[in-house]
């Protein structure tokens, strides 16, 4: 029987995001050339919160974008017959520091697709990766620069990030096949 454990509650997530926000500004050396890009779907919600945190702290108006990577996936067959393609909206990326934000980093394929897609929109000076949860299990040489929490998981586990805007509450949970 599958078991569900809560890794982070809403306050733990808020603390992590606050720390990540200031790390982003530090690594990007300021906010002028910064673009925060969220990966659909939950990455977008997290990216929006990070932008708000940064804008409040730095009194800035950081550039923001959304990226849907469905059309850049390397596994068309696995999508199934009824794929949902979300919205992609990106500002100009040329010469900017792009921070890609996603909820969970696992195999790295989603980020690889996101990198390909960004390349079609311009040539950033630098791209950083920011994730709430790094669960290991990489299949490609991809690393996160700013991480909320690192955990180790087994292949059969599922890591779910729930966000208020979509799921009604904030939490990070792991479902294990018991």
């Amino acid at each position: 029987m599958p078991s569900r454990t809560q890794l982070l509650d809403d306050r733990a997530i808020a603390r992590a995001l606050a720390r990540m926000a200031s790390e982003i500004v530090e690594r990007a050396r300021g906010t002028e050339q910064l673009v925060i890009v969220g990966v659909q779907r939950r990455g977008v919600e997290l990216a929006a919160r990070l932008k708000r945190l940064i804008d409040d702290a730095e009194r800035s108006g950081v550039a923001f974008g959304k990226l849907d990577i469905t059309l850049y996936r390397d596994d068309l067959q696995a999508i199934g017959p009824r794929p949902r393609v979300g919205v992609t909206e990106l500002p100009d990326l040329d010469g900017r520091t792009v921070v890609i934000v996603d909820d969970v980093l696992y195999t790295g394929r989603t980020i690889r697709a996101a990198l390909d897609e960004c390349a079609d929109f311009g040539r950033p000076r630098r791209i950083l990766l920011c994730v709430l949860i790094d669960r290991g299990g990489r299949e490609l040489p991809i690393q996160a620069d700013i991480v909320g929490t690192t955990i180790s998981t087994a292949p059969g586990d599922r890591v779910d990030v729930l966000v208020r805007e979509l799921d009604g509450r904030d939490a990070v949970e792991v479902a294990r096949d018991g």
């Binding site: 059309l71 850049y72 996936r73 068309l76 009824r82 393609v85 919205v87 929109f121």
Partner: protein, 320 residues
């Protein structure tokens, strides 16, 4: 979306799709509109897929639209334009089909003068088959882009009053529109000379409006069909002049419309016959947005069917 049945291997007709499937295609077209607005109008979604555009009937517009759709999805595409019936060319459609399959083509887009030819091909090869117009039967992607354009303009299809005007009898665009619109809840009427309307067209769920002035007074949108000159030669109507005088969409007639009518046309237009330039180039016309939507709709169709493309690495087994 879980209850929407999968689209299957081929798209040959809108007649057999459910409302849910129609909406899936329309919704999937939205992100593809955005791709066409980018500087780099390409996504790798169909990278490495081989697509053949088999056009037995001359058509620049539809063929190019499909070619762009395919290239913007990063597919490898080949277009074959050949005129004349397959019989006179010597190679039958069956043999053409088998040759394509032997070359491991993933998808075929076919336009052919015989009704049923897309289904004929789809039943004989494992590749996905997309109907780009088969005889007088259907032109599914045209129907879909027309509906998408209406949805863009009105925000909905249900309850919309759409009049299809012209040679409905010989029109595959009309048939696809009728199926798609009625399934999504629009009210559909057909308007044209009785000799160019199928005798039992009401059984398809549409009303007949004999005069264009009444269609203009009733409709939210008009889809004006191209009148082919052969119709005059085969005796269906006496002359193009009379057609324009009695049934043509002129600026005068449009001015008497009680609402802001949306004007559509599948193209290419016979200016001065079924539609006057003042209307075609006027503010009510969405003819150019139709063309833009055409590429997005075709990308959506190719993308959705490709999820079920044949797996050539499986010998003999490969069920789409």
């Amino acid at each position: 979306m879980a209850d929407v049945p999968a689209l299957g291997k081929d798209l040959t007709a809108l007649e057999h799709l459910t409302a849910g499937q129609l909406r899936l295609i329309l919704d999937t077209a939205e992100p593809f509109k955005e791709v066409s607005e980018r500087q780099i109008k390409k996504v790798p979604a169909l990278r490495g897929r081989t697509i053949v555009n088999l056009f037995f009937e001359a058509s620049t517009r539809t063929r190019i639209s499909f070619e762009f759709a395919e290239k913007r999805l990063s597919a490898d595409t080949v277009s074959i334009a050949s005129s004349g019936s397959s019989v006179s060319k010597g190679e039958t459609l069956v043999d053409t089909a088998r040759n394509l399959e032997a070359m491991r083509i993933d998808m075929v887009v076919i336009r052919h003068h015989a009704s049923g030819s897309a289904e004929f091909l789809g039943n004989r090869i494992r590749s996905n088959v997309i109907n780009a117009g088969d005889g007088k039967h259907e032109h599914p992607t045209q129907g879909l882009l027309d509906i998408l354009t209406l949805r863009d303009k009105f925000g909905r299809i249900e309850g919309l009053k759409v009049a299809i005007c012209g040679d409905v009898l010989h029109s595959r665009v009309a048939r696809s529109n009728i199926w798609g619109l009625t399934k999504l809840g629009a009210e559909v009427a057909v308007c044209g000379p009785a000799s160019l309307l199928p005798r039992n067209v009401e059984e398809l769920g549409v009303t007949v409006i004999p005069r264009i002035e009444d269609a203009i007074a009733w409709a939210d949108a008009l889809n004006v069909l191209r009148l082919q000159l052969e119709r005059m030669q085969s005796g269906f109507i006496p002359s193009l002049r009379e057609y324009n005088r009695v049934f043509g969409l002129t600026v005068d007639r449009l001015e008497r419309a009680p609402k802001d009518l949306v004007i559509m046309h599948p193209g290419p237009m016979n200016r001065g016959v079924e539609i006057d330039s003042g209307v075609a180039d006027g503010p009510h016309s969405v003819i150019l947005p139709q063309v833009t939507n055409g590429v997005a709709v075709r990308m959506a169709v190719l993308y959705l069917l490709a999820g079920g493309s044949p797996d050539w690495s499986q010998q003999g087994g490969g069920e789409a």
